[in-house]
Symmetry: C2
Subunit: 331 residues, 2 copies
C-alpha cells in the first residue's frame, strides 16, 4: 500500500528499551534524577548497563510508542526513525511493522548501533531513562520520504528529536512539507528537562505558527511558559496554538481549542507498574480519536484509556486490545 492515506505519521528516535527494576538507593548512588530522561554516550551506556540488574528488551521510543498505540486503535499509522543494521534494529523493525505500521526508513549503513534506552523502574512505578541515541541521531533529511509526509493527515513529532542535530533538521523539513501540503503538525514537548534544553527552539516553533497541535504534561507546559501554576500555563499556551492537550498524571487531562475546553479524569488502574510510555499512549489515543472525527472530550477519554493500559505493565507498548478497551469504555 505505498500510496495509501495515513492518519498519522510519527517521526522519532527509534529506540529499544532495556527495562530493569531498581530501587531509590541505586538511583541515588548513580546520581540519577528520578523521572527524567538523560542522553548518555556509548561508554556510559556500557558502564551503567554493567551495574544494572537483568533487563527486558521491548521496543520503545516516544513517537514509536505512539505509532504502536495508533495502529492498535485502528488508525493508519506510519513511523520514521533510524535503526542500524543489527539485531536490535531488526527487533525494532519487526515490532513496528508487525502492527501494520508503515516503516520504510532505510537501515543506517554506518557502524553505529541501534539506539537503546536503559530504563530504571523504581517500586513507585517511576521510570528514569538513560538514552544512548546511537543510530537514531543519524536520521537525516535524506532519509525522509517527502511523498510519505504529504500522505499523512497529521505528522506527529517528539521533542526529543530536537536533541540531536541531524533529526532536528529532518523534523524541520517534515514540518515544512506537511504544512505546504495542507496537513496538520502535532508536537510533544516530551520531557521538562528537554524543554529546559530547548525552550527557545520550542517557543520559536510555536510562535512561528508551525504547529497545529501541542502535547505537554503539567511540568513541561509550566517550564515552557514560565508561568507559576498549571492554569496560568494552560491559559498562556492555549492562546499560542490552535489545539493544546495537557496531561496531569492521576489528575486527568485537558484540551483547549480556541474557546472550546474539555477535561477528563484519569482512568482507574488496578496497579501502576511502570509509567514509561504514559504520555506517548495518551497522544496515541487522542490522535486516534481526532482522526475518527470525535469530539475533544472523547479524544481525551481515548488518550486516558490507552495511557491507563500501558502503565499497568512493564514496557511502553500496549499489551491489551486497545480497540476493545475503547469500545467497552466509550462505545
Amino acid at each position: 500500500m505505498p500510496d495509501r492515506r495515513l492518519d498519522v505519521l510519527c517521526i522519532g528516535n527509534a529506540i529499544v528499551d532495556v527495562i530493569a527494576a531498581t530501587d531509590d538507593a541505586f538511583l541515588a548512588a548513580e546520581g540519577l534524577d528520578k523521572g527524567s530522561m538523560r542522553l548518555i554516550d556509548a561508554d556510559e551506556a556500557t558502564r551503567l548497563y554493567g551495574r544494572m540488574g537483568p533487563g527486558r528488551e521491548i521496543s520503545g521510543g516516544s513517537a514509536g510508542n505512539t505509532a504502536a498505540g495508533l495502529a492498535m486503535l485502528g488508525a493508519a499509522a506510519g513511523f520514521v526513525g533510524q535503526v542500524a543494521d543489527d539485531q536490535l534494529g531488526e527487533v525494532y523493525r519487526h515490532d513496528i511493522t508487525s502492527l501494520g505500521i508503515e516503516f520504510t526508513t532505510p537501515v543506517l549503513r554506518e557502524s553505529v548501533p541501534t539506539a537503546r534506552c536503559l530504563v530504571l523502574v523504581t517500586p513507585d512505578a517511576q521510570r528514569t531513562m538513560n538514552t544512548f541515541l546511537g543510530a537514531a541521531q543519524h536520521l537525516t533529511v535524506d532519509a525522509l520520504d517527502e511523498a510519505q509526509v504529504r500522505r499523512a493527515g497529521i505528522v506527529y513529532l517528539e521533542g526529543y528529536l530536537w536533541d540531536p542535530e541531524a533529526p532536528r533538521a529532518a523534523m524541520e523539513r517534515a514540518i515544512d512539507v506537511a504544512r505546504e501540503a495542507g496537513n496538520k503538525v502535532a508536537f510533544t514537548l516530551s520531557d521538562s528537562f528537554c524543554v529546559d534544553r530547548h525552550r527557545d527552539g520550542f517557543n520559536a516553533l510555536i510562535d512561528g505558527g508551525r504547529l497545529d497541535i501541542l502535547f505537554a504534561n503539567e511540568a513541561e507546559i509550566v517550564s515552557l511558559t514560565g508561568e507559576a501554576d498549571f492554569e496560568a500555563a494552560v491559559a498562556s499556551a492555549a492562546k499560542r496554538v490552535p489545539l493544546l492537550v495537557v496531561t496531569r498524571h492521576e489528575h486527568g487531562a485537558v484540551a483547549v481549542a480556541g474557546d472550546e475546553r474539555a477535561q477528563v479524569p484519569a482512568e482507574p488502574v488496578a496497579e501502576v507498574v511502570d509509567t514509561t510510555g504514559a504520555g506517548d499512549l495518551f497522544a496515541a489515543g487522542f490522535l486516534a480519536g481526532l482522526s475518527q472525527g470525535r469530539p475533544l472530550r472523547d479524544c481525551l477519554r481515548m488518550g486516558a484509556i490507552a495511557a491507563a493500559e500501558v502503565i499497568s505493565h512493564y514496557g511502553a507498548r500496549p499489551e491489551a486490545d486497545l480497540k476493545a478497551l475503547v469500545a467497552e469504555k466509550l462505545g
Copy 2:
C-alpha cells in the same frame, strides 16, 4: 572469585526468548503443537518471526533460567553456555552475570548469531517454543572449564542439550569430570518431545548410573518409562536413580529418594500468565533447598514457590524477590 565453591553449575543452551502473545488460530494456521518445543533453522526463524506480533526479549534457556533462580535464592551458581559476539549475546551475558552468576564461557568466534527462541503464549498461558539454536549448538568440549566443573557440588544439565551434537559431547564430558570429582550430577528431561527424540540416550545415562538427580514432569516421565500412568512411571523411574523429582503442574510435585517419598501441592497463583520456565524454576528452588541441606519436602516447597512466581508474569526469569518469598512462606 575464580576458585570459590559453586553450589550448582548449570550447563545449557544460551537462548534469548522473544515472547509474543498469540491465539490458538495462529498456532493452528502454523501447524504448531501447543506446549511443545521444536528446533527451527535460520530461515524458519526469519519466516515465523515475520508473522509473529511484537515481542519482548528476555533472557531464557532452560538451565540459564535455573541458574537465575538459584542465584536469586542465594545459591552460588555458575552457568556454561555458548553465545555469539552480538547484541543478543551481550544481553544474555549481562542478564546472567548481573545476578552474580559465574559465566566464563568464551564468546563464539564464528559468524553464527546468538540463539533465540520464539515463544508464542496463548491466553491459557501455555507456551509454544520455536528454538533457533544458532551459537548455542557450538558449545564444544573445549569451551568447558573442567576446573570449574570440579568446583561445583552439583552439575545440572538440560535434556535439550542432547539435541545438538557438540554440546552433547560437552555434557558427557562434564558428567565424567563431575563424577570423578565425587560431585553430583542432576539432569532434566526438558520436554516430552525431547524424550521422544532421545529416549535411548536418556535411558542409557540413567541406567549407566551417571545421574544422581533426575528432574521430569508427568508427561516426560511417562514417555521415558513407557508406563501407562503417573504412579507406575514414578515407581519405575525411582528404582533407577538415587533421587527422582517429578512435577505435575497444578497438582504439585513428588520427590523419591530410595524409601523416602515427599509430596507437595502447587503454590496458589493469582493469575497464570505464561508458563514458560515453570520447570526450570522448580528445579532452581529444589536445588537451592538441597544445597542448603533442607529436607526433601522443603526442597519441593521451594521449587513450588519459585515456579509459582515465574508463571505469574511473561518471561522465564524471576521478577520478585525469591529469597523473601521463600522466607515468608517457608521460613
